[in-house]
């Protein structure tokens, strides 16, 4: 499958590239977080659709499931899910802004000390991540202290 014969697919980094593909910066960690949270959300969504179908087995089955979800381990899982969704959504907004070409600054001559578009974009990154952290903390307070 991954032979040395040159094919259109040979230049991809594969699983190694998912985990480590070069010098890591803050944005690189955000990329990993975005990927892990995206996969977590889609996995949860599928389980959630199956698990809430339990309603079709009647009132008792449903109430039993809800009692399980009211227990502490599930409250923590629910909070992690919320945190993942907030992080993914906020970082997603940052990615969209970048992909649409905003907050990257104008292209410049590469004169030392270099100013890359990532560096010019970084203040916005910090603001968005700060907001995400605030929402995650506030969301936790109402989940744990209703």
């Amino acid at each position: 499958m991954n032979s040395n014969k040159p094919t259109a697919y040979n230049n991809r980094l594969g699983i190694k590239g998912w985990v480590y593909a070069g010098r890591y910066t803050f944005e690189r960690y955000l990329y990993l977080g975005h990927r892990v949270s995206g996969l977590g959300l889609i996995a949860y969504m599928v389980l959630h659709i199956i698990e809430t179908a339990n309603r079709m087995r009647g009132v008792e089955a449903w109430q039993g499931l809800m009692a399980l979800f009211a227990s502490w381990p599930f409250k923590i899982i629910e909070y992690l899910l919320f945190a993942m969704a907030v992080f993914h959504a906020m970082n997603g907004v940052r990615l969209l802004v970048t992909e649409l070409g905003f907050f990257l600054g104008k292209p410049r001559e590469p004169v030392y000390p270099y100013s890359t578009s990532i560096k010019r974009h970084r203040p916005l990154t910090f603001v968005i991540m700060g907001l995400a952290a605030m929402i995650i903390i506030l969301g936790g307070s109402s989940l744990f202290f209703p």
Binding site: M1, N2, T7, A8, Y9, N10, R12, L13, G14, I15, G17, W18, R35, G38, L39, L41, I42, M45, V46, I49, I50, T52, A53, R55, M56, V59, W62, Q63, M66, F69, A70, E78, F82, A85, A89, G92, L96, G139, S142, L143, P146
Partner: protein, 122 residues
Amino acid sequence: MRETRLWSLHILVLPIIAVLLGMHFAVMHYAPVFYGMSVDKAREFSTMIERGKSVTQLVLYILLLAAALYHGLYGLRGIIRELPLTPVLVKVVDAGIITFGLFIFAFGTYVTWWTFSYKIGG
């Protein structure tokens, strides 16, 4: 062109997910904050059935189902496609993801419809 369209849809469904997932969280997880109702009450069978009888909720849930499944599964497809796959395997992955997505969408829609058409007391 086809890939551009698929990617654009992956992005265009985001406002739908942001609004509807936000509403879903507000109703199911943050009812005390937004509706002055305890989480336990919001998740009771009778409350769930009562909510599910609304046509608006029926439509919005099916929309959220479609939008989030499309966005999530398209994202998963992109991740799998970073692996060094042969063209045949790429097709197998595509077919697998489409089949799985349609199955889960049909199942979720059926459960939502079941709630909508549930007869209270019989």
